[in-house]
Amino acid sequence: MKGVANIKRKYDFLFTGVGGQGTILASDIVSEVGMRCGYDVKKSEVHGMSQRGGAVESHVRWGEKVYSPLIEEGEADFLLAFEMLEAARWTQFVSAGTVALVNRHRILPPTVYLGQAKYPEEKEIEDILTGAGSKVVWIEGTARAVELGNPALAGVVLLGTLSKYFDEPLDVWENSLMNLVPEKFRDLNIKAFHAGREFQG
């Protein structure tokens, strides 16, 4: 996939997860990278009620000129799923060619922990995504983040893996990251980002 940046004119990134997992920060960082690389950038995010543990999604779009802040169905180039079930929920945005970077991490929704519904098996989730044409890359984001001392860094691990798909210089990613996280957490975030780069994209 190296070199794609020069061929394609637009990139659509869909971030999905559970309210409170940090999808907003991660999508802010990708927006910042896009702007620093000279793209027009738009992004859409969810505030309010859903932030209390509901399903959330953020859209980021890079292009020569971007009108809508939302991704169109079937158009996502990258799906960054912070949680496994939330990887499978938004397949209307996925199509052949979508790369899904999925954090191998489960957060049980209420019907599951009350014993009224079943959490899908990993295989089922993968099948749903591949059925929609997507390539699935599993990432031990939360596991690596926990090793680094903070599960909230899982999203930054995913960003590390994402960065491998782009030719844009690494320091654009690092500077965008450092620009948006509080100073005292910068080192830890950079470590998490590089941990993500160790995964095979």
Partner: protein, 588 residues
Amino acid sequence: MNKIMSGNEAIAYGAYLAGIKVGAGYPGTPSTEVMESFSRYPGVYAEWSPNEKVALEVAIGAAYAGGRALATMKHVGLNVAADPLFTVSYTGIKGALVIVDADDPSLHSSQNEQDNRHYAKAAKIAMLEPADSEEAKQFVKIAVEISETFDTPVILRSTTRLSHSRCIVKLEDEPAAVEIEPAAYERNAPKYVMVPAHARQRHPVVEERLKKLAEYAETTPVNYIEPGSGDLGIIASGVSYQYAKEVFPGATFLKLGMAYPMPEKLIRDLAGRVKQVVVVEELDPFIEEHVRLLGIPVKGKDVFPNIGEFSQGRVRRCAAAAGLIPGKIGAQPVQSQQLPVRPPMLCPGCAHRPIFYALQRLRAAVFGDIGCYTLGAAPPLAAMHTCLCMGASIGNVHGADRVKVKDRTVAVIGDSTFFHSGITPLINLIANGGNSTVIVLDNRITAMTGHQPHPGTGRTLMGKKVPDISIEALARAVGFNKVDVISPYDFKNVLETIKDHFQSREPSLIVSQYPCVLNIRERKPSPVVDQDACNECGNCLRIGCSPMAKVDGGVTIDPALCTGCGFCASVCGRGAIKARTNEGGGEH
């Protein structure tokens, strides 16, 4: 220099650049971040008022005194502020008044999806509607100009998708610092004292102003035609314009930056250039009806729905179905089926939970209100039975208590909601000899919208220390004799106190006091489950706390999610949920 800003941040930036010095608002998704970001600019005064009516009145006062002022609120907030709105239209202002209103098509975080463009028409004032963050910044400056030129309040309308999308904004030079000498207050009773004799004189001024605004709409740079093919002429404003640009790339466009009043000549000009005029607008046919009144055939709500927000995908499918563009008719995106749903829930460690659990056990009919605590309506707690608008719970319970129902009734209201609009109905209970019970969930903060201070917090938006108003003292002062302040985590006492209040024949009030766990970030070690002692009764699952999960033969608690509040332990009849011993670890 460029910066990525949300629509709300850009509105605040525009307000700062435009020399607005006084801002007042009440939080409400999707408007909240406007006042939060505005408060961080140098040299401004910004406040959270207890409700939108007060916020607008504060801003009007500042504008009467000659200042440039900003009021911010969500769409339903403008209902609360509608009373001053309609008459400030008559008085006009001396300075400038910009009202930021944020609508919520698709009800991402609201109780309805009303279309507030009708307010501009009903109050006969100008409304601007930006389509992205850069426009949001510029339009505030234009709103200030319009306000000062035409002596009118101006509404700047946003929607969720504008407020909460981010795009690139050009940074501008800092506004020049102006030293303002205190001036004498201008006294002008015929303009500002709206007794009938004066107001009758003002109404023709309002009508005259509206005509002038309509003329201005023809020439303002925010309304313009983008020439294109002669087939379709698209009229759009706000974020709908962005979707339409993706779906009809070659069409002729009339982009309306001013949603009201509308430019008749420009619309006729567009109609003269194309075979078919199409209005792409979310919610009501506001522009469409205006175009129809001009006698121009138009497609609008016969093609695009009047429910829910748009996206370019939705606009594309509707346009294809109507034959406006080629495309597969009826093609629907494939959505994942049958995955377990994930609705928002009360957070682990939320102090609202024990109250709802108690009310569920006591089978009370709960008249509810709006806030995080509305999540008490969700199963398995399912302990809230109404949610209408902010402050409604107390009036609702009093009305219900005038009709004999078998159930125990109670009003449950959050503290920010109480200060917003719960005090007048509370006084009503005393003033009309009511006997209802009210529970105030007092977490000392406005949690739902992201922890804004309110009159009970003891601190202002700008960080100044102020007295924290006591709900207990307030209730006693207006005549409540039966008032109890409880901690929600002393669960035995919670049950006993509520039962005692239910038995009482006088009006009564319980304040359940505990800070929001997200705000203080309190974390204690999570308890552990003794699976041998567990008899799978399911009590702890019925509290609806996400770290608790049913497993074969018992339950588990996820230590990563649990905040260690210990409430689950207090509902376990078998003592199977125990505090973690030190070696057990857990997060601190």
